[in-house]
């Protein structure tokens, strides 16, 4: 991989730091009056998801990380590995470990495309689409006539996620959910 110098550090650039692939979030030049310049860099560790800051001397460089994002459909799991397939027509499959799924595990639905981050061809992170349609498998019976406002109740979705839904929702209904906030949006 190519090396990148501090002034090439831009938001989204993927670099290696302490053996882990990281994505650069922000890069700010710090230059006291007349002296040595430094770069204050905010990065996200793509393995742990943690965001941290580091200072580099301007002109220092980091090795690029072989990281790419691909769209893949979720297929199934055998409770040890989760399987995804490329949507480019190659039918190529990737086995993903639970830790790469993170929060996305509760938004998994077969045949839905997810964004898979690959590092050296290993899946290290799975991101759900912003909105997903899921079926209600368990909730208290819907209250008739309550379609306008008032309260909410928990509902368990087919993916296992539990979200707050309006009182009028019934089991078996398909709902549109915002995966970023985990909130109910509407009936699908």
């Amino acid at each position: 991989m190519a090396n990148y110098s501090t002034n090439e550090f831009k938001g989204g650039l993927k670099v290696m730091l302490d053996g882990d692939p990281c994505s650069i979030i922000e890069n700010e030049l710090v230059k006291p009056g007349k002296g040595q310049a430094f770069n204050r860099v905010k990065l996200r560790n793509l393995i742990t998801g943690r965001v941290g800051e580091r200072t580099f001397k301007s002109g220092d460089s980091l090795e690029g990380a072989d990281v790419m994002e691909l769209e893949m459909e979720y297929l199934y799991n055998d409770s040890e590995m989760w399987y995804f397939m490329k949507t480019d027509g190659s039918f190529e499959q990737y086995a993903v470990e639970k830790k790469a799924l993170g929060e996305t595990e509760k938004w998994l639905k077969e045949q839905v495309p997810y964004t898979v981050t690959l590092w050296n061809d290993n899946a290290i992170q799975i991101s759900a689409p912003n909105f997903i349609e899921l079926e209600v498998v368990e909730t208290d019976p819907g209250l008739k006539g309550d379609t306008a406002q008032g309260g909410s109740k928990p509902a368990t979705l087919s993916s296992g996620a539990v979200v707050r839904v309006p009182l009028f929702i019934n089991e078996g209904e398909i709902l549109k959910i915002d995966t970023r906030s985990g909130e109910y949006v509407s009936r699908a």
Binding site: P32, K34, T55, F56, S58
Partner: protein, 326 residues
């Protein structure tokens, strides 16, 4: 995708900018300081180890020559002073390669002025008066600090006497740097990091902060003197507002031999660091040998001042076109 052709500043901001520059010209006209224009290109450049000069090849009357784009208009202006210009100011396009960020642009405008016969305190007064004039809504006081005092206050270390080992450790820790990142660095690099990262952001909060008595090793083109503790320090000041460095002033070095020695030392350090050497400005040295009147000078980043006055988050918002959009 089509490249954006649009300005990085709004037309309204450019109107405000023009008004502020007119104020600057009025300020100096009222004080009898002559506006000058000097070349952006020079046969010599800045040897400063921490500045990266741009240069270009030109076909001159002496054949193909490397000409340097100025990092500030200092050298040409000092030649005018030696020729008897009296007090002068300039709004000068200057260039520093690689300096890109929310407060930096490779090409920027420097307001620089020189006051033969003034002392450093006179110049500090004039600089803070100018900045206060540009910011009519700002009523904070002007507060003076010594470099040493700031390190005691914010880091509980003495910049002159603390061991290099301890400074390296402190810099690496405060900078959240990789292990060993500072082990080969000198005193000034450690101090620069601590100043830039820890102290500067605290300066100029509801006040204009003036910092004096920098280490003698950071004198650049300023004289040196012994401070009240007997420590050799640079006869230099910096002005801060809202955590941003705005201006850097010197009691100007007028000794040609000392100036030559500093240029040569810079280029030696450049060789050690594997940086390209910069042609020494022989004409500046000749002017100093002829004799430049004692006096003081200051460089103020006018883009940054406009940015502060107009409350813009990014420097590019006060530039018609930032370098990435030029």
């Amino acid at each position: 995708m089509t490249e954006s052709w649009r300005p990085t500043a709004t037309i309204e901001t450019l109107r405000e900018r023009a008004r502020l520059l007119a104020n600057v010209r009025h300020f100096f006209a009222a004080r009898g300081v002559l506006e000058v224009e000097t070349p952006v290109l020079g046969q010599g450049g800045s040897t400063d180890v921490h500045l990266v000069s741009l240069s270009t090849m030109a076909r001159t009357d002496r054949g193909q020559r490397r000409l340097w784009l100025q990092t500030s208009p200092e050298f040409h202006m000092k030649r005018l002073l030696a020729a008897g210009s009296g007090p002068i100011f300039q709004l000068a396009k200057s260039f520093r390669d690689g300096e890109v960020g929310v407060r930096h642009n490779i090409e920027f405008t420097m307001l620089e002025w020189y006051r033969p016969g003034f002392t450093l305190p006179d110049l500090i007064d004039e600089t803070t008066t100018l900045v206060a004039n540009m910011l009519p809504s700002f009523h904070g006081p002007v507060v003076h600090y010594r470099y040493r005092q700031l390190f005691h206050t914010y880091l509980a270390v003495d910049p002159f006497t603390t061991s290099l080992e301890a400074l390296r450790r402190l810099a690496a820790e405060r900078g959240q740097m990789s292990t060993g990142a500072m082990v080969n660095e000198g005193r000034d690099t450690c101090l620069d990091l601590l100043m830039g990262l820890v102290i500067e952001p605290q300066l100029g909060r509801n006040e204009l902060s003036v910092v004096v008595d920098y280490p003698a090793s950071q004198a650049a083109l300023a004289r040196r003197h012994q401070d009240t503790d007997g420590e050799w320090v640079a006869s230099r000041f910096e002005l801060y507002l809202n955590g941003i460095e705005l201006a850097n002033g010197y009691d100007e070095l007028t000794d040609a031999a000392e100036q030559r020695a500093r240029f040569i030392k810079d280029n030696a350090e450049r060789r050690c660091l594997g940086l390209p050497e910069v042609d020494v400005d022989e004409r500046l040295l000749a002017a100093l040998e002829h004799g430049m009147p004692d006096g003081v000078g200051v460089a103020l980043g006018i883009d940054r001042l406009v940015q502060l006055v107009l409350g813009k988050a990014r420097l590019e918002e006060v530039l018609a076109f930032s370098t990435p959009n030029c």
